[in-house]
């Protein structure tokens, strides 16, 4: 290891290699703090050639490596198992080119999501995927996790917006995948790499699609007596053929937390749920859609529907949604943000079951979710120092995933599998399905040096041995 660190320093310079324990501690976990593993070193390359050299050096020393963006991921994808090396892409942070005529931008992976939209705003354009962490998370990480966000209902997820990639393969070769026109020159390898959680290589450049800013945006807030009627309103809106930019539900327990916090948005705490609807598009169309959405909400039992009068009020409405995770910080030391998807029509039934599961396990469970996508985020507030509560958190999580899969859903909508959910992959996929994924892995990374231990169940997959036996499976109980 000492030799490898010397080799890494040789490539990027002394200051860009972290190897002291107190520096590495920062990289022990990502946004999923339940799992932790210390890397052997963290390197901060400043160009793709350095990335390629670093990859070669790690490989030559038989040490795995893990690409990392801002570390905001919620499934443990960016932590280094097997004493691996973290290759952090935060210094590859330049917007290389904005081409407003063709509505594309070429960026490095360390560019912060929100900064791209800011940079292209003068051209009347924006970058559509907007995960909740958009002020911190980077586009490279977004591509790795196929990040979503509240506006994916209409605009799609990251995979629908990445046209081409430059990728350092696990053997150090630099390749360009895709084309800026969106017509792949061969197999759609961009489509395969986006969402592969950093296991197929390290992205060093992205060509992304930019979208025209809508002429008009309207935000509605519907107040409902219970979450089931809010879900019914969502079902009616979707079934009527409307495609709002966002359809978000915040439940009673979350409202209470938000209203008691600095994110307070003036929501009635006796409401069972609020539904946030954002409509965008041509002004004339949006004006009519507002009335249709209002009617659907009232028909589903909304006791009140208001339309944001100005940008300030729109931001206040959104605060209830975007501040939810922060507000949870007041409830307990730890927060587990779950992520699963069900067919939208099953939402009322599934939510009831999710709440029942939380209650049965005596947990503080609340829901804020992308209702339009059927993307649930049950949040469990807990204290990891209480081993019994931690056990109940894990058990309830597993039960929730099972319920979602039984309803025809999947176990991650936008956070990825990482290490968090790899043992649940079999809920959804057969051995043959998983083996087919491993074939892709084998084509890119036959030696399993690139972010090993992620996505796949620990036994017998992709030739990976049992991670427990290798000693990196541990849950930190501070």
């Amino acid at each position: 290891m000492i030799e490898l660190i010397a080799a890494l320093r040789e490539i990027v310079g002394e200051a860009a290699v972290l190897s002291r324990p107190e520096d590495l501690l920062v990289y022990e976990a990502d946004g999923l703090t339940l799992h932790g593993a210390l890397p052997s070193a963290v390197v901060l390359p400043s160009d793709k050639l350095q990335v390629a050299q670093l990859v070669r050096a790690c490989r030559a020393h038989g040490v795995p490596f893990v690409p990392r963006g801002a570390g905001t991921g919620l499934s443990g994808g960016a932590i280094a198992l097997e004493q691996g090396v973290v290759i952090e892409c935060s210094r590859l942070n330049r917007i290389l080119r904005v081409d407003p005529e063709n509505r594309i931008a070429v960026v490095q992976p360390g560019v912060v999501n929100a900064d791209l939209s800011k940079a292209v705003a003068p051209h009347g354009l924006f970058y559509a995927p907007d995960p909740s962490s958009q002020l911190a998370c980077t586009l490279g990480g977004n591509a790795a996790e196929n990040a979503g966000g509240p506006h994916t209902l209409k605009y799609g997820t990251t995979t629908n917006h990445v046209l081409a990639l430059e990728l350092v393969l696990p053997d150090g070769e630099i390749v360009r995948l895709g084309s800026p026109v969106g017509v792949p020159p061969g197999y759609d390898l961009v489509g395969a790499v986006v969402g592969s959680e950093g296991t197929l290589g390290i992205v060093t450049e992205l060509t992304v699609r930019l979208s025209p800013m809508p002429e008009r945006v309207e935000t509605l807030l519907g107040i409902f007596g219970d979450v089931v009627s809010a879900c019914r309103a969502v079902g009616a809106i979707i079934a009527s053929g409307l495609v709002p930019a966002a359809l978000e539900i915040v439940d009673r327990r979350t409202i209470a937390a938000v209203e008691a916090s600095v994110y307070a948005a003036g929501l009635p705490t006796d409401a069972g749920a609020v539904l946030l609807v954002e409509l965008d598009g041509p002004a004339l169309a949006v004006a009519r859609q507002v009335e249709r959405v209002r009617a659907h909400c009232l028909a589903a039992g909304a006791r009140e529907v208001s339309v944001a009068r100005d940008a300030e009020e729109r931001q206040r409405f959104w605060r209830a949604r975007k501040g939810a995770f922060g507000a949870m910080g007041r409830l307990a030391p730890d927060l587990y943000v779950h992520d699963a998807v069900v067919p939208r029509s099953k939402l009322p039934e599934i939510l009831e079951r999710v709440c029942e599961i939380g209650d049965r396990h005596r947990l503080r469970l609340s829901n804020v979710f992308h209702a339009g996508d059927g993307n649930l985020h049950p949040n469990i507030s807990f204290d990891r120092r209480d081993p019994d509560e931690l056990r109940r958190v894990t058990e309830a999580g597993a039960e929730i995933l099972r319920v979602c899969v039984e309803a025809g859903g999947v176990i991650s909508g936008e956070h990825g599998i990482g290490i968090e959910k790899r043992e649940y992959m079999r809920l959804l996929f057969s051995d043959a399905d998983l083996a087919a994924m491993c074939r892709l892995r084998a084509a890119f990374d036959p030696e399993h040096v690139c972010n090993p231990g992620k996505i796949f169940p620990s036994t017998r997959f992709c030739m990976e041995s049992d991670p427990k036996a290798r000693g990196y499976e541990r849950v930190e109980l501070a």
Partner: protein, 412 residues
């Protein structure tokens, strides 16, 4: 009959296995055609083909059989038209699962009155869903099927039946393998069924046509028109590609607006006042689909919207008639062909396509040409700086090379 074919006949039954004296398809002399009627039968078929090293030319309805490299070898024809199952249409969700063997026209019929429409409109109503996805074929209204597919059932060369993706609209659960199979021309696996995300049927539509001035100003105008908010399809076509009713000038802009009636009215007004567009029949879109898919010698060029007009000019000066979708960065160029032996025209077309793609920094695909002109030649161009990686992917999914050998990019 070889041992492999005998086993196939025994396993699938005589109604699914047809033995020929010599059937020539795409230059390959085929001993039999196989028409499995279910996913199970398809799995058995591929397993036996693999075991016996029998390579297959895979096709749906065969509408795009000539849009690929000539196969380097093939012993049997594997047709997927027989793959059928009851459609699952969830009108509440706007998603549907269809069998790969279903024809697009039958899917449209199945969706009629559901409030949703099929976001696939490549030329050829007889095309199967599986073939359309495998060829990533697109038409004037909707983009590539890659963004429409939510999940796929696929049978691998080994005979393993796998599922990728799901039926929900948002999904990051393992690798997105569906992307790999869409557009792979049947060289990585055979699609059995697909979950698709449907589009809400628009409240209203409006179709109009305008004369477009040849030249830079006209090209710029077309791109602006193609980006109006309610545009669902926008095309620039040389008049000779269109029926008389639409041939209002030597070069024509055809636009279809869809969505909210009031917003459409405003865009229609803009098209009328700025470009002199006049309303026309919705059938104009059918004329575009026909124009895109017709002609025995044609190339598709992909380039950034800003560079597309330059590519079109190069092709026109090479004797082609051009149909372009300006905002999508795609154009189709049709060349004259005097007969199947006319290799010189094919040569000329390829030369023009090469120049056009180079001028525009794009790529081309020889979509239709006589077999003789395609044999020993690569129809996918601008390809394969990543051929080693593509080859590794092919090797992983089809190690014995039994699926459409030689048909894809770089002879994969």
């Amino acid at each position: 009959m070889s041992a492999g074919l005998e086993q196939l006949a025994a396993a699938l039954g005589p109604e699914s296995v047809f033995v020929h004296e010599a059937l020539a398809v795409e230059g390959a002399q085929l001993e039999a055609s196989l028409r499995p009627s279910s996913g199970e039968a398809l799995a058995v078929t591929l397993r036996l083909l693999s075991e016996h090293g029998l390579s297959a030319l895979v096709r749906g309805a065969g509408t795009r059989i000539a849009t690929a490299n000539a196969p380097c070898r093939a012993r049997v024809l594997l047709e997927t038209q027989g793959l059928s199952e009851a459609a699952l249409i969830d009108a509440e969700e706007g998603v549907a699962r269809f069998a790969a063997g279903a024809r697009l026209e039958s899917l449209r019929e199945a969706l009629a009155g559901s409030g949703w429409e099929l976001p696939l409109d490549p030329p050829g109503d007889a095309s199967t869903l599986g073939g359309t996805l495998a060829a990533a074929a697109q038409g004037p209204r909707f983009g590539s099927p890659r963004d429409v597919v939510l999940g796929l059932g696929v049978v691998l060369a080994s005979g393993e039946r796998i599922r990728c993706g799901g039926r929900v609209v948002k999904n990051v659960t393992g690798y997105d393998l569906a992307k790999l199979f869409v557009g792979s021309f049947g060289t990585l696996g055979v699609i059995e069924w697909a979950w698709l995300r449907l589009r809400p049927a628009p409240e209203a539509t409006h179709t109009c046509v305008a004369a477009l001035e040849p030249g830079v100003a006209g090209d710029a105008a077309a791109l602006v028109a193609a980006r109006l908010p309610t545009v669902r399809a926008a095309a620039v076509a040389d008049a000779a590609l269109l029926p008389d009713a639409l041939a209002v000038a030597s070069r024509v802009l055809i636009v279809e607006l869809a969505g909210d009636a009031a917003a459409i009215d405003r865009d229609a007004e803009a098209l009328s006042s700025r470009y002199g567009a006049v309303p026309t029949e919705p059938a104009a879109l059918e004329a575009l689909r026909t124009a895109q898919g017709a002609g025995p010698l044609r190339v598709r060029v992909a380039a950034l919207p800003s560079a597309l007009p330059a590519a079109a000019e190069v092709l026109r000066s090479g004797g082609a008639l051009v149909l372009a979708y300006p905002a999508r960065g795609l154009l189709w160029a049709r060349f004259r062909l005097s007969g199947p032996e006319d290799e010189r025209s094919a040569e000329r077309a390829l030369r023009a396509a090469t120049l056009a793609a180079r001028a525009a920094g794009g790529s081309y695909l020889l979509e239709a040409a006589p077999l003789a002109a395609r044999q020993g030649r690569e129809v996918f161009a601008g390809a394969a700086s990543t051929l080693a990686l593509e080859r590794a992917v092919k090797h992983q999914y089809d190690p014995a090379g039994i699926l459409n050998p030689g048909r894809f990019v770089g002879g994969l």
